[in-house]
Amino acid sequence: MTTELSSANPGRARRQMAADILSKYGIVLAFVILFVALSFAHQNFLSTANLTNVLRQVSINGILAIGMTYVILTGGIDLSVGSVLALCGVVAGSLVTGADPANPALAFLAGIGVGALVGAINGILIARFKVTAFVVTLGMLSMARGATLLYSDGRPIPNLSPEFRWFGQGFVMGVPVPVIVFALVFIIAFIVLRYTVYGRWIYAVGGNIKSARTSGIPTRSVIFSAYMIMGALAGLAGVILTARTTSALPQAGLGYELDAIAAVVIGGTSLVGGVGSVTYTLIGALIIGVISNGLDLLGVSSYYQQIIKGAIIVVAVLIDRSRHSNP
């Protein structure tokens, strides 16, 4: 519409395009820089074994972060994921131990089911009773941890059946099972958000709940479902983590909520809701995972690691910042 003027200055137009690309893919660029730097810094970084490692390490946080993307897109937050993960882990674990372990698929589904249930409780309190998401899920963080300790009597549950452990330790055609699960979750989440009506509704609710309501979108159900999905994914992550650590740990998942939220936010999804995508969340999770892996590979001492890790996260987002800066 106002093309006459904008084409007046081709140099500016090109610069504008560069800025647009940067603004759209800034965080991807940051990731690429990090990745290339680590490839040069350590000869094993690019080895298949290490890349497999990184992906497997990222999978737990990645699954949580994908659920968190849904929740944050609706304008909410879920602080309870770490505790819910632990709860689902001990429930699933308790089924596949002892003399007569249950079918691992059953335990798998039980873990996810418990997570979905806890998520549903969060969802009802937030969507129906309008309690702030921060408070509800902070309360749940505490309650689910208490329930976990109570259920497991505060002790790890060892001796899980080998079939169950396959979910964490197995391989399918050379690819670790957690990575496959993560990839599936990502693909489904991506398609749902991008191509389905439900996905549109998630964005609409977070972008402008009033407008969504006026347009006849069942806003409560959408919000409710986002927390339920998050809960189910926390359950899934709990099952995988349990299978991977070979015993169900009641203290698992401490502080995981911050990592999951960090992946989402580093990816550029706005905490206010309505803007973002799981693709960027994936990049965010990979950045976090690659930093940890790289610094461990390089043998950087723990204290410096924390400093460097914090700095890299800020710088990565700084590279990306133009996307969110107010004009």
Partner: protein, 498 residues
């Protein structure tokens, strides 16, 4: 109270009441909407129109009252129910999902589907394009909503409501943000909807529009039903007096004053893609009008002048001295105040009270040693509430609870509290009722007469003709011409602008 079952009666509401914290917003809301008619709902700012309409739509709950839609008693619990029942609304406060595309906004909640679950994007965009073509709106369905001007957002909301094919359509000030050309297109659309038997409730403070498109009128005042009838039986003057509750004198033509020395001169303002080489100067005592079609770049220029946006080139001198304006803080320090175009986005702090908003830009005047004097604040705010007849339960009411027009008055009051010598007004009478408009015009005239300068941006040609001394016309980011008000006419302006 029995209703005769009139098949032509689409909607009948009686005794609708609503109070907030015991303060009534609506006492006795009534309307009878006939099939295939346009029914103008009139009333001053804060009369309860929006409250009433939101209740009809299920967006708010009434305390009491009966609503009959298409012969059935209804009580919509949500907008979704109303929509399903064939009632649609364009709300006064635009509330688009900014981070979606135009097409997605239009089909929000009823996306065309493929395979049950998936959004058929192609169809959605095609449908939207067809809709715009039918309505003659020049909007790209794939554009990001965030990048549209307020006017276009308003058009999208109009298109969205119309596309629902409902038989009751409520429009709460649909033209407050758009230009004459777009308004004309809207009226054409309204006419064709009426042909199809749709009943339209139309709210506007532009009486000229009402007389040209509406069949019936209903007037509310202070939350009460006053009168209803056919527009054919009433003249403009009487309608105004019903709305305002007293007789208004005819507006005085603006006296031609002598131009003093130059107060402010903007030279060579440019911003790539938006405006190019704009020079405007305003003398003491002068009101300069800025006219242009939607998207001509007037707002962008005014904001740049105020330091509220980047400019690539351009200098400003005030009373002959060059000043550097990099931010609104600089502008205010130089004696410039601005009423921005979008009161919700850039004007008000909705989560604060009326009082806090009114004094916000001039806090230092109310403070000693960093502490705000509550007494002086209260005095000043009460004076402003009185001066502009701001209808508010108290100065401590959150400004988000004011009616649209009253919110606009708060913005105006805030600018005046800064005691400026140059006032930039970007569509200052958006959503303001006829009575208050007169007061604002009188104020501007008076303000200029005291040796101050005013830059008045308006898309309402009568407004600009009646109030400006000199009119500058923008076309696609450039100055297309300049006319003394005395020589200007509707045709001349439109000709220059397009």
């Amino acid at each position: 109270m029995g209703y005769e079952l009139d098949p032509d009666l689409l909607l009948a509401a009686t005794d609708v009441a609503k109070a907030y914290s015991g303060v009534p917003a609506l006492i006795d809301g009534r309307i009878r909407l006939r099939r295939g008619s346009v029914h103008a709902l009139c009333g001053g700012n804060g009369a309860g129109k929006s409250t009433f309409l939101n209740i009809l739509m299920g967006l708010q709950k009434a305390d009491s009252g009966t609503i009959l839609a298409k012969g059935r008693v209804v009580r919509y619990g949500s907008a979704a129910e109303a929509l399903a029942d064939g009632v649609a609304i364009i709300t006064q406060e635009l509330s688009p999902v900014l981070d979606m595309t135009v097409a997605e906004n239009i089909y929000l909640g009823r996306e065309p589907r493929r395979g049950g679950w998936f959004v058929d994007k192609k169809k959605m965009v095609a449908d939207a394009a067809a809709l715009f073509a039918r309505l003659k709106f020049d909007i790209d369905p794939r554009a990001q909503m965030r990048h549209l001007s307020v006017a276009k957002i308003q058009l999208v909301e109009i298109a969205k409501a119309i596309s629902r094919d409902s038989d009751i359509l409520i429009m709460d000030e649909p033209t407050s943000a758009i230009g004459e050309k777009e308004a004309a297109t809207l009226f054409a659309a309204i006419a064709s909807l009426r042909e199809q038997g749709v009943g339209i409730i139309y709210v506007s403070h532009r009486l000229t529009d009402i007389f040209s498109i509406a069949d019936d009128y209903t007037v509310f005042r202070d939350g009460r039903f006053i009168e209803t009838g056919s527009l054919a039986d009433i003249d403009r003057k009487r309608l105004i007096s019903l709305i305002v509750g007293r007789d208004l004198a005819d507006q005085q033509a603006r006296p031609t004053t002598a131009r003093g020395e130059t107060m402010i001169a903007a030279e060579g303002f440019s911003r790539d893609g938006q405006f190019e080489d704009i020079s405007v100067s305003i003398a003491r005592g002068e009101i300069v009008g800025l006219y242009g079609l939607m998207g001509a770049g007037r707002s962008e220029f005014a904001n740049a002048l105020y330091g509220n946006g980047r400019k690539d080139k351009g200098t400003v001198t005030i009373e002959g001295r060059p000043v550097e304006i990099r931010s609104p803080t600089d502008a205010l320090a130089a004696g410039i105040a601005m009423i921005t175009e979008d009161r919700k986005e850039t004007g008000l702090v909705l989560t604060s009270t009326v009082s806090q908003n009114v004094v916000l830009a001039a806090l230092k005047r109310f403070a000693r040693g960093g502490f705000v004097s509550g007494r002086r604040e209260a005095e000043a705010v009460d004076a402003q509430i009185k001066r502009f007849r701001i209808r508010t339960a108290s100065r401590h009411l959150l400004v988000q609870h004011l009616s649209g027009g009253n919110q606009q008055k708060v913005v105006l009051a805030r600018c005046i509290e800064t005691d400026p010598k140059i006032l930039i007004c970007d569509e200052p009478t958006r959503g303001i009722d006829e009575g208050a408009k007169r007061e604002i015009y009188a104020f501007l005239s008076d303000f200029a007469a005291k040796g101050n300068a005013v830059l008045l941006i308006s898309s309402e040609i009568p407004e600009i003709l009646a109030n400006a001394d000199r009119i500058i016309v923008f076309r696609r980011g450039r100055i297309a011409g300049e006319l003394p008000a005395a020589e200007a006419s509707q045709d001349a302006l439109v000709h220059l602008a397009s």
